[in-house]
């Protein structure tokens, strides 16, 4: 992954240190710290990971290891409306891959990327527990069931106005 150069503001660094402190800078709380940090900053660029590593007394390599292990964490800023397509077994057999292809085509991005206007980002996930509605797509917190490739445009339109 290429490194994004991000300049941090002093008050952001203070906020970051406060998050670490709220978990007593305990290395075992690394995942929780990353969780909170992503909630606040929207994503986890390299610079933020470096600061967390120093504060939590773990290596940057380790922090990066955790960030890349969990698909929830992202090093790229998420779009205003994050789109997640369920690739769990039920959704997959009911054609989730075709739905994904349609999103890729419409948005002109690959999985893990964000559109250049920052509106949408595209991701896959494994099973949201709504297999009865397969294939399932999430946009932000809203769930769409029985999505067909033909329905993709309609979903996007809701967010484009």
């Amino acid at each position: 992954m290429s490194r994004i150069k991000v300049e941090l503001h002093e008050n952001q660094v203070i906020a970051l240190k406060d998050i670490c402190k709220s978990f007593e800078n305990n290395p075992h709380e690394l995942i929780n710290v990353l969780h909170k940090t992503q909630e606040m900053f929207g994503y986890l660029p390299a610079e933020i990971q470096e600061i967390i590593a120093i504060e939590m007394n773990v290596s940057v390599a380790k922090v990066y290891g955790v960030v890349t292990f969990y698909s929830f964490f992202t090093m790229v800023p998420r779009g205003e409306h994050p789109i997640s397509i369920c690739m769990g077994t039920a959704c997959y057999v009911r054609g989730a891959d075709n739905v994904l292809d349609e999103f890729k085509k419409e948005l002109k991005v690959e999985v893990g990327e964000t559109t250049s206007d920052g509106k949408f980002s595209l991701n896959c996930l494994r099973c949201v527990g709504a297999c009865g509605l397969a294939p399932v797509v999430l946009v932000g917190d809203k769930t769409y069931g029985r999505v067909s490739p033909e329905g993709v445009k309609e979903i996007l339109a809701e967010y484009l106005s």
Binding site: M1, K5, L8, E10, A46, A61, G65, T68
Partner: protein, 592 residues
């Protein structure tokens, strides 16, 4: 301690509660094969992620197979380590690992020395039934280490050494599933990570994923060049391990044969780094006494304790992690660099050879030495003091390539004037050795009395952190010793927080010191090999007629004719160095 009874392959075993099946089996002569497992018991190092599944065994009453390295014995357990189910599973697991591994064994740097290869041989794998995608990664070249992660099997031994033992934290498992790989942060190159180039990752890598940068071809080319005078220096730990590459028992000293082999390879002069170790003691010992005397005279702000500076991985470590303490280590260069510096001035003049026509090769147990000799401050007008540093393993390869039958070689002696050393120079190769060598000289210079028993046994041993108080004629001198950078870190932190006070501290980055260096013949997880090498080093010391650095007459001559006295201006210029703050991050923080 509670004892547990179980049977493994119909053999009854009694073990302590908490023992793994793997260890219990080895007690009754059953060698369960392992791949990701690494246990260096004498060093407290254990890697058992239970990830490779090669060591699986059948446990009666248990549905699935159990990884022997990560499963504890239980009372009444009935274990089968070689049933058909186990053998089939093991072979399948191995074939699956091999299906994502390049099959270029014949031209791999680890050919013949690879745990994965010997496993395939032992298991009788003749065909890989699985074909699928193979992972591909960019190769990463650093001055010392090459990472070829296509060959990584995710055993994570390197991570254990880098993080747990060395606390360097350059490597971590990143990504997941098929994409999982061990890499530095943000998958950058090693040179951009806090890597110290200690090479302990290379020393434990079961495949060719981590290897040293091979400089043997450059050495062959230099030797073949009629316009160049090529001289060689051999580090103390090399002679105690080189024999292993030719089938000798660990701990066999091959000093004489090594010298003969080097001469047969065509080196114009075969010298000894131990000579430069004696020189290091003169400089470092004098520096210690200088700081100590000033401290005793009540001078404030004297940098104590003095820390040894012979180990290049250790230097990299404190430059990165403890830059604020960089005025404490001795400014004395390492023996490798002192040798190079003297060779390209004093010795070059002696044989009337221009600096650029003299090639200095060093044989080192170490991979960080490759990095060290490439540091800018160790070259003059772009010409390095040491041109090439090759490892013990690379020397073995050179000897084999040159058709030299090592076993049948006669012993011979080093050339002079840079081949003579005291026993003090020899023990530089083991933990405790540098500080003992320094103490032998410092004691006599300080007390102006002879130290009759010569050696300081209280400084010897294999524990990660040791301390001793020496009696300098009524003055107690407190010494600290650490080997392994994790232990070094603990010792430094104890100085920082004031819980420990020392006058002098010796630090070596590798387990056991240089004898366990990243460039030595592979120990394949047997720490007994390191102990055998340490014994050999002390044996060589005991056999030396001169055992104190300041009694080496060639060192005395060097000072008389060339350097003046220890820490003279010339000595400072040629034999001392300075350190840098490498902790820097490139994070930009804007003021609000």
């Amino acid at each position: 301690m509670e004892l547990i009874n179980l049977t493994i392959d119909n053999k009854a075993v009694k073990v302590e509660n908490g023992t793994t099946i793997l260890k219990a089996a080895s007690k009754v002569g059953i060698k369960i094969p392992t791949l990701c497992y690494l246990g260096l018991d004498d060093l407290g190092v254990e890697n058992k992620p239970g990830g490779c599944r090669i060591c699986v065994v059948e446990v009666e009453g248990r549905r699935n197979l159990a990884p022997a390295c990560a499963t504890n014995c239980a009372e009444g357990m009935i274990v089968k380590s070689n049933s058909m189910r186990v053998l089939n599973a093991r072979k399948t697991v191995l074939e699956l690992i091999l299906s994502d591994h390049p099959s270029d064994c014949l031209v791999c740097a680890k050919n013949g020395n690879c745990d994965l290869q010997s496993m395939a041989q032992d298991m009788g794998v003749r065909e890989i039934h699985y074909q699928g995608e193979q992972s591909h990664y960019k190769e990463d070249f650093s001055p010392s280490i090459i990472r070829e992660m296509d060959k990584c099997i995710m055993c994570r031994r390197c991570e254990t050494m880098c993080n747990d033992f060395q606390t360097v934290g350059a490597l971590s498992g990143v990504h997941r599933g098929f994409q999982a790989v061990v890499a530095p942060a943000f998958e950058q190159d090693l040179v951009k990570s806090p890597c110290t180039f200690c090479g302990q990752c290379v020393a434990v890598c079961p495949t060719g994923a981590l290897t040293e940068v091979d400089h043997t071809n450059q050495v062959i080319r230099a030797l073949a060049n009629p316009r160049k005078k090529v001289i060689v220096q051999t580090a103390p730990a090399v002679r105690a391990a080189l024999g292993e590459s030719f089938g000798e028992e660990p701990g066999t000293l091959v000093t004489g044969k090594m010298v003969t082999a080097l001469r047969q390879l065509g080196f114009d002069y075969v010298f000894d780094t131990d000579f430069a170790a004696d020189l290091t003691i003169m400089e470092e010992g004098t520096e210690l006494l200088d700081r100590l005397t000033r401290h005793l005279n009540g001078e404030e702000n004297v940098a104590l304790p003095i820390l040894t500076s012979c180990c290049p991985a250790w230097v990299n470590f404190f430059e990165h992690y403890f830059p604020e303490m960089r005025d404490i280590p001795s400014t004395a260069r390492s023996p490798q660099q002192m040798f190079g510096s003297i060779a390209k001035t004093y010795f070059a003049d002696m044989i009337e050879t221009k600096r650029e026509d003299l090639v200095v090769v060093s044989i080192m147990p170490c991979l960080a030495k490759k990095y060290e000799c490439q540091r800018d401050e160790f070259s003059v007008d772009g010409n390095p003091d040491v041109d090439y540093s090759i490892s013990t393993r690379e020397l073995a390869a050179l000897i084999k390539q040159a058709n030299i039958d090592f076993d049948s070689l006669e012993d011979s002696d080093f050339d002079q004037p840079m081949g003579e050393s005291s026993g003090a120079g020899v023990i530089f190769g083991t933990t405790g050795g540098v500080i003992e060598a320094a103490s032998r000289t410092a004691y006599e210079l300080f007390t102006k009395k002879k130290h009759e028993r010569i050696s300081f046994e209280e400084l010897r041993g294999f524990d990660g952190i040791r301390q001793a108080t020496l009696d300098f004629d009524g003055l107690p001198i407190k010494i600290g010793i650490a080997h392994g950078l994790g232990n070094a870190r603990k010792l430094l932190e104890s100085i920082q927080d004031g819980s420990c006070e020392f006058h002098a501290i010796e630090i070596m980055a590798c387990p056991g010191g240089c004898i366990g260096g990243g460039g030595q013949p592979l120990h394949h997880g047997k720490s007994s090999i390191l102990l055998a090498r340490q014994k050999a080093i002390y044996a060589e010391d005991s056999a030396k007629p001169i055992r104190k650095s300041h009694e080496n007459k060639y060192i005395q001559e060097l000072y008389d004719k060339f350097l003046g006295k220890p820490m003279s201006e010339k000595a400072h210029h040629l034999l001392h160095t300075h350190y840098f703050d490498r902790s820097g991050s490139d994070i930009v923080i804007k003021k609000d």
